[in-house]
C-alpha cells in the first residue's frame, strides 16, 4: 500500500519502548503512528510462533518483573487488562544438583534458603534498603546534566546532589564504594557459598560484556535491584500481556500500529545542520509525515542509515564511535508436549531457573566471549511457561556466546552451541532430549537480524560504567535527542534501558512532547 499518511508524531519501532512512547504521546492528545517492522508488535516482549510448530513462546526477554506499576498507572494500562501478581521464585541449580531458592515476591525472600545462608542474605538485603530509593529515583528519570546551563537543570542537579548527601556520610560513602566495585569482590566479602554468590552475580551480568570481576558490575547489580524493588511483582501473563494491554490502550486513543514492512529511511527537510526529521518512508514506498519522530530502533541504524547522508557531521559520527553493543546471549527455545521435571526440585515446575556453579565459571564464560568463542561451559537462565494441557516452553538465555565468534556462525558452530546447552541441561534433566518436541536457537547474530539489534544485544547498548546514566549510550545521545532536529531517541540504548523496561521510551516521549 503506498501513499502518504500524516500524523503528529511518528514512532519508529514497535517494541516495548516504542509502544510505551507512542501511548504516552497519544495520551497527550497527539495523533500517533507506530511503524513496526516485524509482523507482530512487541519486539522481544511479544510472543511468537516457534517455527511452524503452532507453539507460542512467551517472549524473548523476561525483564517484565522490572516493569513499574507506576508506569502502568501513568499509561492507564490497568484499564486495558493489565494486572500484577507476585513475581516467581528464582531457583539456582548447580551441576551437582544442589539448589537454592529465592522467593522474590515474598516478604522474606530468603526463607527457603538453608538457615545460615538465609541469615547472611537477610543481613545483606537489609544493607541495600538504605540506597534503593535514591537509585530508583535516578532510574525513573532522565540523567541529570552535570554542567547545567539553565535554572531547571541546575535545580535538578542541586536537588539530586542534596538527595545523595541526605543519605548521610556513612551511607553515601558506602554507596560510592559499592558502585565501582565488582560483584565478585562485594559478594565474596558477604557470602561463602559459591552457588549463592553466582546466583546473585547473575543479576549483574546480562547486557554486560564482562564477568563478575569487572569493575562496575556492582553498579549494574544495584540498579537492577533498585529497579526490581522488594516484594517483587510482575504483569500477569508476562511480556505478551503487557504488549496486549499497550496495543489496546493505543487503539483506544486512536493511535495506529503499522506492522510488517521495513523502514527505508527518514523523511527530512533542510540540509546539513538545518536538517529536520519530518517522517519516514517504508520499503514499499509508503510515506508517513509527522511533526516529530521518535525512534526506538538501534541508534547507529537510526543515525547512520535512516538519516540522510550529510545530516550528521563528522563530530556527530565520531561521537557515536564508542557505542558498544556486543551481545553475549543466545536464546534457545525448547517446547515440550509434556514438561520434564527437574530431579533437583523433586519434579516440581519452575518459572526462573539458573543453571550455574560459581563465579569462576561466570568469569570464564566472559573470557571465552572475549576471545571470540562460545563458553565451554555456558551458564543458563531458563524461563519456563506452561499451558494447562501440560505443554510447556522453556526459553533459555545462554550466557557466554559471542556475537561474532571467530570463524562465524557456521552450522557446526550452531550445533556445538546447542550441544553445550544440552550438556548443561542434562545435569538437571538427564533425558531432556527425549522430551523436546521443538527447538529453536537464536544466536546473537540471528537476534540481530530478526529484531534489528546491533550486535545481537538485547538492550541495544552494553551496560557498563562508561555506558550508564549520562553516558548511555554516549554522552551526546544521553539527552534523548538526536543531533538531527525533530528526532528523539527512545530505544533501550537510552537510560534506563536494560534496567527498567519501557521507561526509556516514556522519557523520550516526554522529550518529544517538550520539543515539538
Amino acid at each position: 500500500m503506498t501513499g502518504v499518511t500524516r500524523c503528529d508524531a511518528l514512532v519508529l519501532g514497535g517494541d516495548l519502548e516504542g509502544l510505551v512512547a507512542a501511548l504516552a504521546i497519544a495520551r497527550n492528545g497527539r495523533r500517533v503512528v507506530v511503524l513496526c517492522e516485524r509482523p507482530r508488535p512487541g519486539g522481544l516482549h511479544g510472543s511468537e510462533e516457534l517455527g511452524s510448530s503452532g507453539i507460542e513462546t512467551h517472549g524473548t526477554v523476561f525483564d517484565e518483573d522490572r516493569f513499574e506499576s507506576e508506569l502502568a498507572g501513568e499509561l492507564g494500562l490497568e484499564a486495558h487488562g493489565l494486572s500484577f501478581e507476585s513475581a516467581p521464585d528464582v531457583i539456582a541449580v548447580d551441576r551437582a544438583g544442589r539448589h537454592l531458592r529465592i522467593e522474590r515476591g515474598a516478604d522474606d525472600p530468603y526463607a527457603a534458603l538453608p538457615a545460615d545462608l538465609a541469615a547472611r542474605a537477610r543481613e545483606f538485603a537489609a544493607s541495600l534498603d538504605q540506597h534503593r530509593e535514591v537509585l530508583r529515583e535516578e532510574l525513573v528519570a532522565a540523567p541529570p546534566d552535570l554542567v547545567p546551563d539553565n535554572l531547571t537543570p541546575a535545580l535538578r542537579l542541586t536537588s539530586r546532589a542534596a538527595r545523595w548527601r541526605g543519605l548521610g556520610a556513612a551511607s553515601m560513602h558506602e554507596l560510592l564504594w559499592r558502585l565501582p566495585t565488582s560483584v565478585a569482590d562485594w559478594f565474596g566479602d558477604h557470602f561463602d557459598d559459591e552457588l549463592l554468590r553466582a546466583m546473585l552475580a547473575a543479576d549483574a551480568l546480562p547486557g554486560t560484556w564482562h564477568g563478575p570481576r569487572a569493575a562496575g558490575s556492582s553498579a549494574v547489580w544495584l540498579l537492577r535491584d533498585a529497579a526490581r524493588g522488594t516484594r517483587v511483582r510482575r504483569p500477569v501473563g508476562g511480556g505478551p500481556a503487557l504488549v496486549r494491554s499497550l496495543l489496546r490502550a493505543l487503539r483506544e486513543r486512536g493511535a495506529r500500529v503499522h506492522c510488517g514492512e521495513a523502514i527505508g529511511g527518514l523523511l527530512t527537510t533542510g540540509q546539513a545542520k538545518s536538517t529536520r526529521a519530518r517522517g519516514a518512508w517504508l520499503a514499499d514506498g509508503t510515506e508517513f509525515r509527522a511533526d516529530a519522530v521518535l525512534s526506538t530502533l538501534a541508534p547507529r541504524r537510526t543515525l547512520e542509515q535512516l538519516a540522510p547522508a550529510g545530516a550528521l557531521d563528522v563530530d556527530d559520527c565520531e561521537s557515536l564511535a564508542p557505542l558498544r553493543c556486543r551481545g553475549t546471549i543466545a536464546v534457545l527455545d525448547l517446547a515440550f508436549e509434556r514438561e520434564p521435571g527437574l530431579a533437583a526440585l523433586g519434579g516440581a515446575a519452575f518459572d526462573q531457573l539458573r543453571l550455574l556453579n560459581d563465579n569462576g565459571q561466570l568469569e570464564r564464560a566472559a573470557d571465552d566471549v572475549k576471545h571470540g568463542r562460545t563458553a565451554s561451559e555456558p551458564w543458563l537462565e531458563v524461563h519456563g511457561s506452561r499451558a494447562d494441557d501440560g505443554r510447556a516452553v522453556w526459553t533459555t538465555h545462554v550466557h557466554g556466546v559471542p556475537h561474532a565468534p571467530t570463524g562465524g556462525w557456521t552450522v557446526p558452530a550452531r550445533r556445538e552451541l546447542i550441544d553445550r546447552v544440552y550438556a548443561v541441561l542434562a545435569d538437571a534433566v538427564p533425558d531432556l532430549a527425549d522430551h523436546v518436541s521443538a527447538e529453536r536457537l537464536r544466536t546473537p547474530s540471528d537476534l540481530a537480524r530478526a529484531h534489528g539489534l546491533a550486535g545481537g544485544h538485547l538492550w541495544h547498548a552494553e551496560l557498563a560504567l562508561d555506558q550508564l546514566l549520562m553516558l548511555r549510550p554516549t554522552h551526546e545521545l544521553s539527552t534523548y535527542r538526536a543531533p538531527l532536529a525533530g528526532l528523539s531517541l527512545g530505544s533501550a540504548a537510552q537510560h534506563p534501558g536494560g534496567l527498567l523496561p519501557g521507561r526509556a521510551g516514556r522519557i523520550a516521549a516526554e522529550v518529544l512532547l517538550q520539543t515539538s
Binding site: H173, L176, H210, A464, L465
Partner: protein, 531 residues
Amino acid sequence: MSAPADFDAIVVGGGHNGLACAAYLARAGRRVIVLERRGLVGGAAVSEELHPGFTYSVCSYVVSLLRPWIIRDLELARHGLELIPLECSFSPYLDGRSLARWDDARRTHDEIAAFSKRDAERYPLYGQRMAELAAFVAPLIDELAPDPATTSTAQLADALSHWRRFRALPARQRTLFMRLMTASAADFLDEHFESDELKAPMSVSGIIGTMQGVRSPGTAYVLLHHYMGEIDGHYRAWGFARGGTGAVSEALASAARFHGAVIRTDCDVAGLLFEGDEACGVHLANGDELRARSVISGLDPRRTFHGLVGRERLPNEINAKLDRFRYRGSSGKVNLALDRLPNFTSRPGDGPHLAGDIAIAPSVDALELAFDEAKAGRWSSRPYINVVIPSLSDPTVAPDGKHVMSCFVQYAPYELAEGPDAWPAQRDAFGDNVIATLEQYAPGLSQTILHQQVLTPWDLEREFGLSEGNIFHGELSLEQLAFLRPMAGQSQHATPIPKLWLASSGAHPGGGIMGAPGALCARRMLAGGAL
C-alpha cells in the same frame, strides 16, 4: 605521668612518601625523626648494588609522576636528583616488525604509519587531548581529596572549584574525561586507534600494578599517567633518575636532613605507644621507646592498622573496611646484569631505541590471555614485560660496556592457585620464563647474563613491606581512590587513631612515586594545627 615528647613527629617507614612528609614538616620547623627498618631508605624506590659495579633500581624503575612542586619546594635538584628523560618507547614484534615512538613527532608519525596511516595522523591529536586532560587532573592529584559527604566549608569549596574547572573544559573534553574515568584502557584506545600493534603497548599503562586486564572497566584513567610526567618543566612520559630510582629517595632524605630531620635506618618499629586512645610514640623491636606529639605512617594501610595499631584497637566497622581494601599484587621484577646489550632481531644492533622503555606486548589479545592466567592463579606463561636499560643513559649504574636491565613483569599474581607460599618454589621457573620470553625477541640474551635477581610478589611483601606485593600500597581501582583511599570517613590522611596519620601511597593520591601522599599529609597536619 607521660614522658616528654622527643619529637613533634615520628615517621614510621623511610619510603619516599615518608621522607617527603618528613622533609615538609622539618622545613616548617618541626622536629621529625624517620625510622626505617632496612639498612637504607627508599622502600620500593631504591637503588642497590647487588652485584659489584651494577646498581639496580630494584623495584620501581622509572620516574615521572614525582610532583614538580615537590621537586621545587624541597630543591631536590640541589640534593642530587637528576632526571634523564626517556626518549623512546620501543615495541618489538615476533614477526620482525617493531614500533618505536619518539619525542620527535615526525619520526613517531612515520613509525606508526607503517602500521596504520590513520593512527599516525591521530596520534598527535590524542596526545594533545590527553595532555589537556592531564592538566585538568593534576590539581586533583596535587590537593587533598574532598569528601562528597563533607560538611567542611573548605572541602566543599574545593569540590566546587573542581566542578567549575570541569565545567570550563570544552564539551568534548568533558565527555572524554568521563569516559576516561569509567572505560577500559582497550575500549578507550579503540575510539582513537585501529592498529593492534599500537594499542597493545599503549594499553598496558592502564594495568601496571593492578589485577585487571586492559579490557577491564576502570583501567582507562591510568593511561593518563603517561601524560602527566614533567621533567624540567617539559612534558616527558618517563624518565630515569641518575643513580637509579633510589636517587629520588636519597634526594628526599637529603632535603629532610637539610631541614633538620633525623633519619635512622636498621630501626625496626614493633608497634605504637598509646596514651589512652591517642598515639604518642612507637616502641622498637629492640625494646626502645620514642615519644612524639604525632606518629605518621609511611607503611601501607594493612601494615599500619593491623600491624602498628592492632585490630583489637579498632572498631569492627573500621576493620571490615580495612579488610576489604584490596592489595592483590600482580607484578614481579627481574633485574639483570648484562655483559653486553641485548640484540632485538626486529631492530638489530645498538641504538637509541634501546635507551627508552621496551615493551613486550604483542597484542591486546595476548595481554588478555596473560590476565586470564592470573585470574586462574598462575603467573603468565607469556607475560607483559617492560624493560629499561638505564645504563645506556646513566653510566654510573654499570661498569663500562656492561649494562643493567630492569624487567617489570605482569602478571605474577600474589594469590597463586596453590597459595602465596608457593612462590619461593616457583621463583626460578618464573624468572626463567621471563628470560625465555625475552629470548624470543632478543635471542642470545641468556648468554649475556652476569647476574640475575628475581622478585616475586611474595618477595616484595617480605623484603619491602608491600602487602601482597602490591606496588601501590593497594589497588588503584575506582573504589579505592580519592576520599575512599584507604577508606571513607577518615578525613584526609587522618586515621581512626588520634595523632596517627597516614602519609603513604595507601592514602590519596595513591602510588606511582608521586611524593604527593607524603607532602599532602604534611600539609594537612600543618594546616589543621595538628603539629
